[in-house]
Amino acid sequence: MLTLAVHKFASCDGCQLTLLDAEDELLEIADAIHIANFPEASREVIDGPYDLSLVEGSITTEADVDRLRTIRAQSHRLVAIGACATAGGIQALRNWADIGVFTGLVYAHPEYISTRELSEPIADHVDVDFELRGCPIAKGQLLEVVGAMIAGRRPRVAQTPVCGECKARGATCVMVASGTPCLGPVTHAGCGALCPAFGRGCYGCFGPAESPNMDSLISVWRELGVADADVVDAVRSFNAWAPQFRVAGDSVRERGETP
């Protein structure tokens, strides 16, 4: 039977919880795959190698760099799950700050804290077989990726923008109809266009879609009267360190230009 391991780095546990939130499928999955190492769910830990490792969280300490390399060496296939693992997560906001100042703000004894300057995605440190986006990841996409990895095929996960999902569900475009700033046109699909369906603009929790037109989106936002500071905040959230969002935010902040 194939073996599965689930590993955690700096994160909220939500993406690995998605596996336990597959209430209808969990026991079937456990019948089909040997869950060999999943500390959130089981105290039994079987040593690697593993056929498939799911890795949640971003890399923020030296010890975690070493642990990640060991995991890579033990894993036939390695999938990074969620915005922390694929883009550094919300904690990557530190990447624009002085980490010493941040530590001093939160902790009385900064000397007890050991942390790297940057919060980085898994792929900055090891080879990754697939990156599953989202903050949090979508359950359906997770099941597809696990199934695909077991079958040895490429996962069927669209990299198109949220707009496609929005049209598919028949939701009204919040940007066109009510002038609500929305990141849907540049954001990776997967949520099912949740926010527009709830009458709010997409806030980009699945990170950039493939080849997003940031320039055009920012121009539209400016026409809607969005201040540059708010444009920067919008792209600097859960996927702030994803290259396209990072470049867009830096361009607007530093030069008042679109990327």
């Binding site: 919880l17 105290r43 009458g199």
Partner: protein
Amino acid sequence: MTNAREIAVDYLARVEGEGSLRATVVDGALQDVEFSIFEPPRFFEAFLRGRRIEEAPDITARICGICPVAYQMSAVHAMEDALGIAVDGALRDLRRLLYCGEWIESHALHIYLLHAPDFLGYESAVHMAVDHRGLVEQGLRLKKAGNRIVHVLGGREIHPINVRVGGFYRLPTREELSALQPELEWALEAAVATVDQVASFDYPDVERDFEFVALVHPEEYPFNEGRIVSSAGLDIDVSAFNGHFVEEHVARSNALHSRLRDRGPYHVGPLARYALNHERLRQTAAAAAAAAGLGPECRNPFRSIVVRAVEVIQAVEEALEIIARYEPPGEASVPYERREGEGHAATEAPRGLLYHRYRMDDGGRITDAQIVPPTAQNQRTIEDDLRVVLAGNLDLADLELQWLLEQTIRNYDPCISCATHFLRLDLDRGAST
């Protein structure tokens, strides 16, 4: 001569996150216990500075994937406190309903998937399902019933998108909520059965003199409102939190430990809520608590699983009642004007009191943030429990003792992602030479 025995656990399993434990025994006597926390810091309180107040519920949700609603609720109530607005009527009901969903989901996860295996002798719920498939299926279905509420009202189970300062982005229709009813009626029966099932487990005989701390509301079992009350006579407005509670930064821990000024460790969570609020349990929950022999308070931390099960009944009953009386209000949220100020809120996360405090400028930006999660507050109490359990069980073999110590920590359903990371047990039984 040296007679060293060592127990090492790389991870404490079946908790949310990771931490470490070290116990030293010399000549058969317990010397010290350290419960340390290695969660790599994520600096939420630092990067919240300068962000818009409207972003706080979405950003702080990311502190915890298991209890995001708790973070959203504490955040919006603290912001509303600073803005001087009140969210009441049907909007208040909907917030309680959302919290009911999270309590059901989070408690069912802990009861069935994380804690019951300790009592029945399994490594995990998956192992347990080999012999008790029906029980695990019941737990998963109960968990799903809670998640369904969060999904319908919040948009998705993890990091819901519908909560905003002032209310919601979109109101559910009556039909959407009514559709939840049949499954919640099943859930009510299943929750009652759960109390029976967990009450029949064997419990270590431990009695602790905890100082319980929880919100107390005059009419309701607490979710979003109330005074902070303790079993030793504390009774304060939420805004006075920092005058009575102290956070300390201890070496080897990336979480701040809390204590009551002048008194020391305290206990938050289901046992505390129950001790201070059991008169306000709903009918079915109160009857189940009585049938399980809980009495007016329970001071055995191992029995927290029974209280959690009672709280699942409470949450299902309350959810059914809110759904039955729901009429969509005129507006999805209450308008407000940005202003400079400071706001406080405490709400009852599944694991206990969750305090938020924010300062904001007149441009609607956060200038200061403080977040005190329940597991950080319980950390010293967990260490004290470990000392008591260790001292009374030193005659156990290493593997049994390790199991019991892990179980002692899991009694708290610790969310180490909220507070901590990486639990590692090194039991040094070296005799002095």
